[in-house]
Amino acid sequence: MNCNDFVELVTEFLDGALPEGDERRFVEHLAECSGCETYLDQFRQTIAATGELTSDGISSDARRHLLTAFRDWQREA
């Protein structure tokens, strides 16, 4: 396996979706290539950092409106 193939298979590898033979070649390449080892590590760090995103929520007006709607709905029910 070459590096340019390796970098395209990272997500499949992480999802455990590589066919057995490809997974073996992927791991063999990983053991021998520090550039690709770094690439995989950076991919993992990117995924982890993306998971830390706490995107801004909805506006405080919308939040207040929805909390009121929840309260009113429950009162009617």
Binding site: N2, C3, N4, D5, V7, E8, V10, T11, E12, D15, A17, C33, S34, G35, C36, T38, Y39, D41, Q42, F43, Q45, T46, I47, A48, A49, T50, G51, E52, L53, T54, S55, D56, G57, I58, S59, A62, R63, H65, L66, L67, A69, F70, R71, W73, Q74, A77
Partner: protein, 224 residues
């Protein structure tokens, strides 16, 4: 791999919501609305419109919680309502995201610049060109810099083509598994992975560019 935050089990959440527990409603509202907003942005053209889609979704959740049957997780159920709501809005704005169609041109080609690999015919063709291999980096511990890293990622996600943005948002921000995302968007596992991989590779590239600059900052050059 649930979401980023620990919430009570669905059973507890649903029972509390049905009994009118406002604290629980505020909890799910605050936990999920951010991700929902990002997701809605994939289907509509403005942030206002996305926010309205999120609001409409929550109103539908409030009205429909008694009818929730628990066949999917609560969050999946909420997200499905959102996707349908946002899609309907997007269609009205004629901004549909054709998930089923072939990949558009800009989403094809290698995810790492071909010039970083040795050309075909060269010795070790397809291997990293010396000096072009990724240099190890660590996401800084410092929480200010960590915050900057998150801003870089958030900005990069906003710039992604819509379908890449949607899949990244579901998988890596909201923490869904591949099966759930395929079901939610009605795409094949292979298609889902291609979109996810391209999205992640683009984010990695932005981080690489940012972190190679940030090292200078850390070594005392200061930054604007």
């Amino acid at each position: 791999m649930a979401g980023p935050r620990e919430l009570p089990t669905d059973e507890v959440l649903v029972q509390r919501l049905r009994s009118g527990d406002e604290e629980t409603f505020a909890l799910v509202l605050d936990s999920w609305s951010g991700g929902m907003l990002r997701l809605a942005m994939s289907f509509v053209s403005t942030r206002d419109s996305a926010e309205e889609a999120v609001q409409d979704t929550w109103l539908a959740v409030i009205r429909g919680i008694d009818g929730f049957e628990g066949r999917a997780s609560l969050k999946t159920w909420v997200y499905r309502i959102l996707v349908n709501t946002a899609k309907a809005r997007g269609t009205k704005e004629s901004r549909t995201v054709p998930f089923a169609s072939l990949l558009p041109q800009e989403e094809e080609g290698p995810t790492v610049d071909a010039e970083r690999f040795r050309a075909p015919g060269e010795r070790y063709a397809g291997h990293w060109v010396a000096g072009q291999e990724p240099r190890p980096w660590d996401i800084p511990e410092d929480h200010v810099l960590r915050g900057e890293v998150r801003e870089v990622i958030a900005a990069a996600i906003d710039e992604l083509p819509p379908r890449l943005r949607t899949v990244i948002t579901l998988r890596d921000v909201a923490g869904y598994g591949s099966d759930e995302v395929c079901a939610l968007l009605e795409i094949s596992p292979g298609n889902q992975r291609v979109l996810l991989h391209r999205g992640r590779a683009l984010l990695r590239r932005k981080l690489e560019a940012y972190l190679s600059g940030a090292h200078d900052v850390a070594s005392g050059r200061g930054h604007a």
